[in-house]
């Protein structure tokens, strides 16, 4: 009799096969497979379509050519300036966000007193993470229009402060990159076993020396993950560039000193170039938008790959939150 029990359709075997489940369960199972595959199809469609358009329109010469604006107002020429603009914004943003995020994480995990202050800092970062980038951009505009900060941004002939410049956009970009850098470093620091700290203290090292010589070198890979996520946030942000940079194609330096004029001037990034050349902007040159979008997508894919390689040690579904840049 025991054999017949094991083979009854109600599935009392060691492993129940889906065929023996109730139909409603089988329906849910089918749905789960369906949405899982649907997501794959959507992602594949996006990547393949952008790849197709990119190969169609992206020429190597395009990358090394500066944009020009012809009579129709449509942008022509290449996308060297937007590319360098994205690079410049990333440099400024990460240069500001990396020390800030790391300092926050170190202070919160290693010192974190008084407790109420730690709570304040923690929730501030959470709020920054939840603030829409359009609001950050609009805030940046108000900030850099202050007469005090006028030297950092584009100024009109009459002395009107526009509050638009690479410095302004880069500074506000750092707020985008801050949360992932903070979260990744905090998680790394919290995961460092306490005996490492104790060993350093036993050697007579102070807290800050322990942090500099033991803890920070130990969480280097976490910091790298955070920074990479921050970079992909920055290169993907459109709203901040549209509002705080506002240039169309070419760099427009402000003043004549070599480096600062560029930083104080306006320009464009890949994202704003895509936007301006799409039907939503004024350009109406979709082939340029496709070429730039393809380039941007390649960068994003590359950054994704880097994150994955760094985090391979703890690669699992659990690692999805940090690597998806959620927090």
């Amino acid at each position: 009799m025991s054999t017949s029990v094991a083979s009854t359709p109600s599935g009392r075997g060691r492993r129940s096969s889906p065929m023996s489940w109730r139909w409603s369960d089988r329906l849910v199972l089918a749905l789960a497979w369906l949405v899982g595959l649907l997501l794959c199809v959507i992602a594949a469609a996006i990547v393949l379509y952008m790849g197709y358009r990119g190969i169609q329109y992206l020429r190597p010469s395009l990358i090394f050519e500066r944009p020009t604006i012809n009579e129709q107002g449509a942008a022509s020429g290449g996308l060297l300036d937007p590319l360098l603009g994205t690079l410049l914004l990333t440099l400024i943003g990460v240069a500001l966000a990396l020390p800030l995020g790391l300092a926050c994480a170190v202070w919160l995990v290693e010192y974190g007193r008084p407790t109420w202050l730690a709570r304040v800092v923690e929730s501030s970062i959470e709020i920054v993470a939840g603030t829409p980038d359009i609001v950050i951009a609009i805030f940046g505009l108000a900030l850099f229009q202050l007469p005090l900060l006028a030297p950092f941004s584009f100024t009109s002939e009459g002395g009107g402060v526009f509050g638009r410049s690479f410095i302004a956009a880069g500074t506000l970009m750092s707020l985008l990159a801050l949360p992932p850098i903070y979260t990744a470093s905090r998680d790394g620091l919290q995961a460092v076993p306490s005996h490492l700290r104790e060993a350093a203290f036993a050697l007579g090292k102070t807290r800050i020396t322990t942090i500099r010589r033991v803890l920070v070198p130990n969480v280097r890979s976490n910091i790298a993950t955070g920074a990479t996520l921050g970079i992909s946030r920055i290169i993907g942000s459109t709203a901040i560039v549209l509002i705080l940079l506002g240039g169309f194609g070419r760099f427009e330096p402000q003043g004549s000193t070599p480096v600062t004029s560029l930083l104080r001037g306006t320009g464009s990034s890949l994202t704003s170039y895509i936007y301006d050349n799409s039907p939503a902007g004024e350009g109406g040159a979709p082939q340029k938008a496709y070429a730039a979008a393809f380039l941007l997508l390649i960068f994003v894919l590359a950054l994704n790959l880097i994150v994955e390689r760094i985090g391979r040690a703890h690669a699992s579904a659990a690692g999805l939150t940090t690597t998806a840049g959620v927090v």
């Binding site: 199972l29 997501l39 359009i134 998680d187 800050i208 290169i235 459109t238 939503a280 938008a289 998806a324």
Partner: protein
């Protein structure tokens, strides 16, 4: 000289204070954000009180009047009734959250509980990729592929003519916006729900299966119940993202301050709309006109408060999660 001093060991108390001060900068930035945005939005409150949050007047006309306003505007120029924008924001957010939550829960269960390892190895990077595609690329695909398709193939001539007196149907509108927004916010929810699912102790699952439930029933009876707070937290975070999405929506929503009417049937999904965030992008060049500037900042203030509310509720729903030793 400065380098020499950096190389020497730092005094501990000074390092602690310096790091603390740097950390506090973030709090200062938040405070500054509220103060600046609120100060610039003040004229709108001065002239409208809180009634600018309601509807009643034609928003298109108000924007046109503000755009034409001179450097010394009259009180009438400040008149604002922004309900269509608030309605558009709530509508797109609610629809994509409902749709996205359904997909996210199923996908998360699929990834953690059901799929074979080889399939998971594909789906997880896919989710990660969808989360990291910039919104402008979603917008570009929307405006160049989906909007023309909907406009040319789905909207019938009859539907177009029936709406001619109120609004033009180009294909850009609610339907395309909600579809793309769903694709954008679902990965966030999937990631958070997956993390919670993984953190549920395996013995709970085994217990349920030992009682004779099939794996799917076990998920429904035990695992999903255990992670309910995480599902709410994921929804809150995704809502925050959806509320603030600006560029993509501006590109594919049609850019008319029109409130889609559910009573219109299928046409409802083709009707254009504007959200709070997309209106800011639309009128970003209008900052020279004082009333329009105040309007933009008041919309930003509303978004900022919505983001605060989301952060606070996100914190509150995460409290019970600590029971299961999971970080939210």
């Amino acid at each position: 000289m400065a380098l020499e001093r950096l190389k020497r060991p730092w005094p501990d108390h000074r390092a602690e204070r310096a790091l603390g001060a740097v950390s506090l900068l973030v709090g200062v930035a938040i405070l500054a954000m509220v103060v600046f945005v609120a100060a610039r939005a003040w004229p709108i409150f001065q002239h409208n009180g809180f009634s600018w949050l309601t509807g009643g007047a034609s928003l298109e006309n108000e924007f046109a009047r503000m755009n034409a306003a001179t450097a010394s505007p009259t009180a009438a120029d400040y008149q604002l009734r922004a309900w269509p924008l608030i309605y558009g924001t709530l509508l797109t957010t609610a629809m994509s959250i409902v749709l996205g939550l359904f997909i996210a829960i199923l996908t998360a269960i699929f990834i953690v509980e059901l799929a074979p390892a080889q399939v998971t190895a594909v789906v997880v990077p896919v989710v990660r990729l969808l989360a990291s595609i910039p919104s402008v690329i979603y917008g570009l695909i929307g405006i160049l592929v989906l909007v023309p398709y909907v406009g040319n193939h789905l909207v019938t001539e009859h539907e177009r003519r029936s709406m001619l007196s109120t609004v033009q149907l180009t294909g850009a509108g609610l339907g395309v916006t909600v579809v793309i927004l769903t694709v954008m916010i679902t990965p966030i929810m999937i990631a958070l729900i997956c993390e919670a699912l993984v953190s549920v102790p395996n013995s709970w699952r085994e217990g349920a299966v030992a009682l004779g439930l099939n794996p799917l029933r076990a998920v429904r009876a035990v695992t999903l119940r255990a992670i309910r707070p995480a599902i709410v937290a994921a929804t809150v975070l995704a809502t925050a993202r959806a509320l603030g999405e600006a560029v993509m929506i501006q590109m594919v929503s049609g850019g008319k301050s029109f409130a889609p009417r559910p009573g219109d049937g299928v046409v409802f999904f083709y009707e254009p709309l504007r959200t709070l965030a997309s209106a800011i992008v639309d009128y970003r060049e209008g900052l020279a006109s004082p009333p329009l500037k105040a309007t933009i900042y008041s919309l930003a203030l509303l978004l900022l408060f919505a983001a605060f509310a989301m952060s606070i509720s996100g914190y509150l729903v995460k409290l019970p999660l600590r029971k299961y030793q999971t970080r939210g």
